[in-house]
Amino acid sequence: MSSAAPTTSPNANTDKIMLAARELFCARDDRVLFKNLSFDLPQGQVLQVQGSNGSGKTTLMRILCGLNDSYEGSIKWYGQEIEDQTASFFSSLLYIGHRVGVSKVLTPAENLRWSCSLKQAINDEQIMAALKEVGLRGFEESPCYTLSAGQQQRVSLARLIISPASLWVLDEPFTTLDTKGVAMLEKIMQRQAQTGGSVMVTTHHSLRIDELTVLSLG
C-alpha cells in the first residue's frame, strides 16, 4: 500500500552499511503490504519502523530475519546476499518477536541458558548479571508462568544484554513494559548504537535516542 523513504537524522553514521534492502515488495492475500521499499541500516543506528496496524511492520521484520521468504527484492548483509552467509548472519542477529521465546515452564535463568547458548558460550554469572540489570533480581529461579507479561518480556530483553550480536531486530518490544522498563530499553538500545551495533525496532512510542532514523510504512 505504500512506498517509503527513510528520513535520515543529521548525525547518521553512514560509513558502513550493515543491512541494505532494495525494492522490497510483499503482498499478502492479494493485498500489497509494501512496494519499492528501500532503506539502509548503517552501523551505529537505531531504525524505528513506524506504520499503522496491518501495514506490514512485523512482516518486514520477519523478512529481514529470514523467517519469511514470501517477498521480492534484495536484502544484503554487508554487501552480500544473506543466503550466501546465513551462519555468519544468524550469529550476528538477535530477534525478539511478538512471541518472545520464553518457555513458561522454565525459569528465567533456564530460558536464557538455552536461548543464549544457541549463539554463544555463556556462564551463570553473565545470566544473573543480565537478569539483575533488567530488574528480575529475585525471580531467577521462579517458573516464568508465575511472572507477569512485562516480566516475561524482560526475560527476553535480558538476552540483549548478554548478546554480542551486532544487529538487533525487535518487534514491538515496548508493549508490555512499564515506564521504567521503557527507559531501560531505550538506554540499552542507545548503548548498542554507540558501540557500533544497530537496532531495527517497531514501536509506536517516540523514542528518545540520539542515533534514531525513522522508516514509515503505509
Binding site: S88, F89, G97, V105, R113, W114, S117, K119, A121
Partner: protein
C-alpha cells in the same frame, strides 16, 4: 563473528538439556502416553481372552500397535509449545545446522516417551503370556523401532504445527510411514516364536533407523521453516 561462539555440539547439548528439563517439569506429557500404553495393553486380556495360548499369538502385535498409538499421543508435544511461545523462531535463527538441533529435540522426545515404553515392555509381554525366549527380540525391536517413530513423527508434527485445528491430519501423515516399522517389529518377534532367527528383520529395522536418523531431521527442519513462514 565473536570469539565466544558456541560449537554446534554445545548448542545440541543445550537443546537436549532444555527439552528434557521441560519434559520433567510438564510431567503429564510423559505420564499420559505411558499410562495410555499400559492401559491399552492391559485391556486385551480382559476383552479377548485370558487364555495364554490365544494371548501368545497376538502379544507382539498388541504391544506394537499400542506403542504406535502411544507415540502418536506424545508426538504433539514435540514442537507445539515452542511454536506458541516463540522458542521455535529462536531455534530457526540459530547459526548452527538445524539438523542437529532438531535431532536433539527428537532424541529428547524419544528418551522421555520411547525409552520408558521399551523398558516396561517385558512386564507387559509377561502379562500377555509371551514366551520368555522372545523377550530379547521384543525389547530389541522396540529399541530400534521407537526412535524411528519419533524421527518420522517429527516430520508430520513439524508440518502441522502451524495449523490451528489438526484433528486427524497428524495420524493420517504419520501412520502410513510407521507401518513398515510395525510390520518388521512384529515379524521379528513372531520369527523368534517360530524358532527362526529374527536377525534379518532386526537388521532391516537398523537400516530404517539409520536412514531416518540421517534424513528425517532434515525433513523436519524444512517443514518447521515452512510452518513458521
Amino acid at each position: 563473528m565473536t570469539e565466544k561462539q558456541t560449537t554446534t555440539w554445545a548448542a545440541f547439548l543445550a537443546t537436549l538439556k532444555r527439552d528434557l528439563l521441560i519434559a520433567f517439569k510438564k510431567k503429564n506429557d510423559i505420564v499420559n502416553p505411558f499410562m495410555f500404553f499400559i492401559i491399552v495393553v492391559s485391556l486385551f486380556p480382559i476383552g479377548i481372552s485370558p487364555e495364554s495360548d490365544r494371548l501368545t499369538e497376538i502379544a507382539a502385535g498388541v504391544i506394537w500397535i499400542s506403542v504406535l498409538l502411544a507415540s502418536m499421543l506424545s508426538m504433539d508435544n514435540l514442537y507445539r509449545s515452542d511454536f506458541e511461545d516463540g522458542s521455535l523462531e529462536q531455534l530457526l535463527l540459530s547459526p548452527h545446522p538445524l539438523f542437529f538441533l532438531v535431532l536433539a529435540k527428537n532424541i529428547s522426545h524419544w528418551l522421555v516417551s520411547g525409552l520408558p515404553v521399551v523398558l516396561v515392555s517385558p512386564i507387559l509381554a509377561y502379562m500377555l503370556a509371551l514366551p520368555t525366549e522372545a523377550y530379547g527380540t521384543l525389547v530389541l525391536s522396540l529399541l530400534l523401532g521407537t526412535p524411528i517413530m519419533s524421527l518420522v513423527g517429527s516430520i508430520a508434527v513439524a508440518l502441522t504445527v502451524g495449523l490451528g485445528s489438526r484433528g486427524l491430519i497428524l495420524a493420517v501423515i504419520t501412520l502410513p510411514m510407521s507401518v513398515p516399522v510395525l510390520i518388521f517389529g512384529t515379524l521379528a518377534v513372531q520369527s523368534t516364536l517360530n524358532s527362526q532367527s529374527p536377525v534379518g528383520y532386526l537388521s532391516l529395522m537398523l537400516v530404517m533407523l539409520s536412514v531416518s536418523a540421517s534424513l528425517a531431521p532434515l525433513a523436519s527442519a524444512a517443514a518447521l521453516k515452512i510452518s513458521v513462514n
